[in-house]
């Protein structure tokens, strides 16, 4: 598989925006005009799910001009490889001019990635189900998921206690706590989910050491979210309870965090649908938050719930 992938340029993207939401006809009737979305919709109309409404998730192969060569949405590696080989065979029959042809009309009008507050703080979030017996040495659950949490540089400063002396403490203000708890302390281990309306709790930040370069901080807290969300799809979250603990290092000279990470450990209760029946379930769950590395491709992937961010810097251009 890896050898085959060298024959391709690789890209990945979020499909809901590209496909125009639930129904592309509605999207266009409501004034959808983003050229990147239209380029995708025109290509995907010839793909495995065809034109019209419904998910267009999957793997597509196309030319730089957007001409479809193959597509599939399969959990079978063999089927994916077969599609890739067939697409490469079609590619092999194209002339040099077709291979280098540009699309020319795919530049996006707007992307949430453009809302990244330059100089801000991005946290990489990882979540996974935990063992029932509270033993971290147990075999890990196979599934996990990621997300990103964004803060402007000014918001990041508001994680730091006003007095930089040992014992000084700050309770993270509610708007920042709610961003973390409502939107990121959720069970998205098996896929996107909806945020809670409101979460009770707090995050405290305490100065535990001071030196010439900066301060060491301890983060601790708790969160309880309860939701009465409508049943949709295969999963309905009902609640989350979590405790939080972590450490950070803040540079006084650079006025930024050199490191910041914390773990959330808790339990979620939910209803999930299986064989056409809704059933209740309770699972221990954990989250890890840490400063995100610089992205190699230069673009920070937006938080999945960025539409729910209550942030003055959020401007969708």
């Amino acid at each position: 598989m890896r050898g085959r992938l060298g024959a391709f340029v690789l890209a990945t993207d979020e499909v809901w925006r590209l496909q125009g939401g639930r129904d592309v006809t509605e999207w266009r009737a409501n004034g959808g005009t983003d050229p990147e979305c239209i380029a995708f919709q025109e290509m995907a109309a010839g793909g495995h799910y065809g034109p019209g409404a419904g998910s267009k998730q999957g793997i597509y192969v196309c030319t730089g001009a957007g001409e479809l060569l193959g597509s599939i949405n399969s959990n079978s590696p063999q089927n994916v490889v077969r599609m890739l080989d067939a697409a490469l065979a079609k590619w092999g029959r194209l002339g040099a001019g077709e291979r280098r042809k540009e699309h020319g009309k795919s530049a996006p009008e707007a992307r949430f990635e453009w809302a990244w507050p330059k100089g801000g703080m991005a946290l990489r979030v990882t979540m996974r189900y935990l063992p029932q017996d509270d033993d971290p040495g147990r075999e890990r659950s196979r599934s996990y998921n990621h997300d990103h949490a964004w803060f402007s540089s000014e918001e990041a400063q508001r994680f730091v206690p006003e007095k930089l002396e040992v014992g000084a403490e700050r309770v993270l203000e509610d708007v920042l706590f709610q961003r973390i708890a409502r939107l990121h302390l959720v069970d998205a281990v098996r896929g996107e989910t909806r945020p809670f309306d409101r979460v009770e709790g707090e995050i405290r930040v305490e100065v535990i050491a001071v030196d010439d370069g900066g301060v060491d901080l301890k983060l601790s807290g708790r969160a309880v979210g309860r939701g009465e969300q409508p049943r949709r799809g295969l999963f309905r979250p009902l609640g989350i309870k979590a405790e939080l603990l972590g450490r950070a290092r803040y540079s006084r000279k650079d006025e930024r965090f050199v490191s910041l990470e914390f773990v959330g450990k808790g339990v979620r209760w939910a209803e999930s649908r299986r064989r056409r029946r809704w059933r209740s379930s309770v699972r221990p769950i954990g989250w890890h938050f840490a400063l995100a590395p610089e992205p190699s491709h230069g673009v920070r992937i937006a938080p999945t719930q960025i539409r729910q961010y209550s942030a003055p810097w959020l401007r969708r251009r």
């Binding site: 793997i59 990635e113 979030v125 990621h146 708790r222 405790e243 999930s272 059933r279």
Partner: protein, 88 residues
């Protein structure tokens, strides 16, 4: 690839207890997180290196089209509900 894992998990069985229509009681939170076990829980949650994550993915469809035309290569686009490099 993560798509395969996600898809197979999504259509597979969901961990479930109880029966239809019976509401689960709100569970108690056992508070066990401590300075002593923090690193162990961190290691438990974080994933091992994944081959798909080391591939040079461009982050948008448009970027992929432009790069494919420039490189004279076909574009392989992996697109999911939720960005695969974020929460999918």
């Amino acid at each position: 690839m993560r798509a395969v894992v996600v898809a197979s998990v999504f259509v597979g069985s969901l961990g479930a207890q109880g029966s239809a229509g019976v509401r689960v009681e709100e569970p108690e939170l056992r508070r066990v997180l401590s300075d002593e076990n923090l690193q162990a829980w961190k290691r438990h949650i974080l994933p091992e290196a994944a081959a798909w994550a080391e591939l040079p993915w461009l982050p948008t469809f448009h970027d992929g089209l432009v790069a494919a035309a420039e490189a004279g290569k076909p574009l392989l686009l992996w697109t999911m509900n939720g960005h695969p490099l974020g929460c999918t």
